[in-house]
């Protein structure tokens, strides 16, 4: 560092030109501005198509893909669903979800630990959005980073399973605080896993007072009908707001 002006040059004092003037520039720019901007574009597109869009977050192994398999098979009979699946390395999850009549687009992120709005914008180009009612975005299995990135979704769904313990909401508060819905999965295994249901629900309500909480088992189907009703209601609201927006024009 230069001793005279405290600038960080490595040059010696003799070589260093002190005629330069240090100035402070006030910037105040959001570091995720580019992502947020793209997310707003995504949201505009989704709204124009009357789509309900979910961003599903969870730790690895909490049953996201299993839940979506069931949702595609069951709710897929009543509404037209499509899926975008983020995964670090493989397209295994996308393969598990395909063959159920719904378009499935994989996004392999490589080393990126979350999905960004731009990746979603590229992926949806491969889907006929006019042929869909609900678009589900399965984020990369990770409860930390995806929480910071808006994708343009309507609903952020956070999944935790009974085998992960009751204190997940305390350990990953940001994901839970930004959730619209929290699904407690593998409720059929609660007893075997020694899961303290009361404490878990209390933790969720205290960390995320804004979120709706549903207890489900993607394996046995317990609670899934409530989940489907929840999605159908949100979808109906979305359709209604689109038709009133169209009527206003």
């Amino acid at each position: 560092m230069c001793r005279d002006c405290k600038c960080s040059t490595n040059a010696s004092a003799l070589e260093h030109d002190h005629a330069h003037e240090h100035r402070t520039l006030t910037v105040h720019e959001h570091l995720l501005a580019r992502n947020d901007h793209q997310a707003e574009h995504n949201r505009e597109l989704f709204r124009a198509k009357g789509l309900l869009v979910l961003n599903v977050l969870s730790s690895p192994g909490s049953g996201k893909t299993r839940l979506l398999e069931r949702t595609l098979s069951d709710l897929g009979q009543r509404l037209r669903l499509g899926v975008i699946v983020g995964d670090l390395q493989t397209d295994n999850d996308a393969q598990r979800l395909s063959g159920r009549g719904a378009p499935v687009v994989p996004i392999t992120t490589g080393t990126v630990c979350h999905l960004e709005a731009e990746m979603v914008a590229r992926a949806v180009q491969q889907v006929d959005l006019d042929a869909l009612d609900i678009l589900v975005i399965e984020n990369v299995g990770n409860l930390v980073c995806p929480a910071s990135f808006d994708l343009g979704e309507d609903l952020r769904v956070v999944l935790l399973s009974t085998t992960e313990g009751e204190d997940k909401p305390l350990k990953y508060p940001l994901a839970f605080k930004t959730a619209n819905v929290v699904l407690v999965n593998k409720i059929d295994l609660a007893e075997a896993a020694g899961f303290d249901r009361q404490t878990a629900l209390e933790n969720i309500h205290r960390v995320a007072p804004q979120a709706a909480v549903l207890e489900v088992s993607a394996r046995t189907g317990a609670g899934l009908e409530t989940w489907y009703h929840y999605l159908e209601s949100r979808w109906a609201e979305r359709r209604l707001s689109r038709s009133s927006a169209t009527a206003l024009r």
């Binding site: 960080s8 402070t24 520039l25 006030t26 910037v27 959001h30 960390v207 007072p209």
Partner: protein, 113 residues
Amino acid sequence: MHEWSVMASALEIALEQTRRQGASRIHSITLRIGELSGVVPEALTFAFESVIAGTPAEGAHLIVEAVPILCHCPRCAEEFHPADVIYQCPSCGQISANVRRGRELELASLEVS
């Protein structure tokens, strides 16, 4: 750990601003990082050293201003700093979902020449 991409984005904005102001070197970068931004300041510092190498910001200082979380209690109509991840009003015990400050993740200022 998306601190690296956050830091890369900070540098990109910083370089653009520096160019626009007709400056050629960056001596310090000041970030404002909210406690609820999802970013760990230590990890940012680590990422900073690697992203500035070979750029006009090489050798610059990183200054991180932490922004504490500030919630609003709807019952007391007052703001409070939560003690932990449960945003409970210290006066009345009401749990708040209204976060007024603490999500900041921004490039606040630059020192350039």
